[in-house]
């Protein structure tokens, strides 16, 4: 049985953070910021699942990157990042490739973010590498700045 913890300490999707990204003055996509809703930070290798849905439509994982500590990581790199630490109060930037960008106005952003709690064994489990899950998912309607 999965053991899930959720601490609603902060909004995961950050206010006023939705912006377009440009290449040679052309909109090539957009980005927004997310926070970890937890009491401590984690290594990025602890991220088990990160999915973004915008206006009800799932974003292709190839088109999402995770920016932190001055670097930009692909979704498939995340499980290997055992020395990139996500500080508790540091927002990460989620960048999404979408030529032409978003229509003006507001958009509903839904982020599924599940992490392995690396010191908390699933209660009652005798298996190795079987840890409780931290659910730091969140959603918010943002307007493109």
């Amino acid at each position: 049985m999965a053991f899930v913890m959720k601490l609603d300490l902060v909004d995961v999707v950050c206010d006023n953070s939705l912006q377009h990204t440009y290449v040679r003055d052309q909109k090539v996509g957009y980005q927004f910021q997310i926070r970890l809703s937890n009491y401590r930070g984690h290594y990025l290798s602890c991220i088990k699942e990160l999915k973004v849905t915008v206006d009800g439509e799932a974003v292709n994982q190839d088109d999402v990157t995770f920016c932190l500590n001055g670097k930009e990581f692909t979704m498939l790199q995340l499980p290997h990042l055992i020395s990139e630490f996500w500080n508790l109060i540091e927002p990460a930037t989620i960048k999404i490739y979408k030529p032409g960008g978003l229509a003006s106005g507001s958009h509903h952003i839904d982020v599924t973010l599940l992490l392995r709690i690396p010191y908390l064994r699933t209660p009652g489990s005798k298996q190795e590498h079987d840890y409780a899950t931290l659910n730091s998912s969140g959603s918010k309607t943002l307007t493109v700045m």
């Binding site: 630490f85 209660p123 190795e128």
Partner: protein, 323 residues
């Protein structure tokens, strides 16, 4: 003769810090205002250059500790055995990470480092010469439901004794001496629809040391809902409690204790802690040769009362120490 100093773990202000109501500097300032001589922080929570101590971070801490007249005494290290996505860390890997943590604690000027029980007794023993070199005492935390003399803690005591080093030891968390159900958990369960008579039944089952599964079945038969079962989980886990807490065990391990976590959840205006018998624990420490800190560690974060409660805890501790 003991020499007990009072400190505050900034972990007490988790809620306020995460929400941006208190900055790191505000947390340190508040701890000093409440009369703490020293503070502790959890690296994964408040160290901007975790797991390292950058020059910038070191200089910032120096400026803050001298401005507010408080010492950075203890560094809370984590043992993240499951940090890799493919397998558990091996013992050697956890030991090596703990050596990095020791360097960080040393650079930050700390005298004590808290290790977690996932660092094995064997690894704690191997850490002793490093701890001596870096001038930081490492203690394994005795956290509920462990007690000073539970089997794993006895293994640590044996290693400490065999090593003969004063740089490795134990850090009892006062929560392991609780004598009553945890008040915030109890209140949350009530708010979530747990009938009070079933909570009382759960507490009695725990007092009577009825095995967890049997207690669960008897509560289900009595009509327990999810809120009651959730509370039961805590009563047999991280917030368990006893008719007779292991205070004799505490006396026995006192020579190995390097530091304390003064866990607390709620103090009323008469300065009584809701479930942890400070009045029984403090005299035992005072009567020993302990020379170190009791770090106040508030853990009822969602109440928003951390500041008031921490202030009260230091008042209670001072009162008990002057008696």
């Amino acid at each position: 003769m003991s020499n007990i100093k009072l400190g505050v773990s900034l972990y007490s202000f988790t809620n306020e810090y995460v929400k941006g109501k208190l900055s790191l500097e505000d947390c340190i300032k508040k701890a000093a205002e409440f009369g703490a001589e020293g503070f502790e922080l959890v690296g994964t929570q408040m160290l901007s250059s975790y797991p390292y101590a950058s020059d910038k971070a070191i200089n910032e801490f120096k400026a803050m500790t001298s401005a507010y007249g408080i010492e950075f005494v203890a560094y809370g290290a984590n043992t993240d055995r499951g940090m890799r996505s493919d397998r558990d860390l091996r013992e050697e890997e956890m030991l090596q990470s703990a050596i990095i943590d020791l360097q960080t604690a040393s650079k930050l000027g700390c005298k004590v480092m808290r290790a977690q029980y996932l660092l094995s007794p064997n690894s704690l023993g191997k850490l002793a010469p490093y701890a001596e070199s870096y001038g930081v005492k490492v203690g394994v935390e005795i956290h509920n439901p462990e007690t000073p003399t539970s089997p794993i803690m006895q293994q640590y005591s044996e290693v400490i004794e065999k090593t003969g080093s004063s740089f490795i030891g134990l850090i009892p968390d006062f929560g392991c001496f609780a004598t009553k159900p945890n008040k915030p958990h109890w209140d949350d369960a009530l708010a979530n629809g747990a009938p009070v008579e079933l909570l009382e039944m759960a507490a009695q089952l725990r007092y009577d040391e009825v095995p967890r599964e049997e207690a669960r079945e008897r509560l289900l038969e009595a009509g327990a809902n999810g809120a009651v079962l959730g509370a039961l989980q805590g009563m047999y886990g991280f917030v368990t409690f006893y008719k007779q807490p292991d205070l004799e065990g505490l006396k026995k391990i006192m020579p190995y204790v390097v530091h304390f976590h003064g866990k607390f959840h709620h103090l009323n205006e008469q300065l009584e802690e809701a479930s942890i018998p400070y009045q029984d624990i403090i005299p035992i420490i005072a009567a020993s040769d302990f020379d170190g800190y009791i770090m106040a560690e508030y853990e009822a974060h969602n109440t928003g009362q951390a500041l008031e409660m921490t202030k009260r805890l230091l008042q209670l501790e001072r009162k008990l120490l002057t008696q």
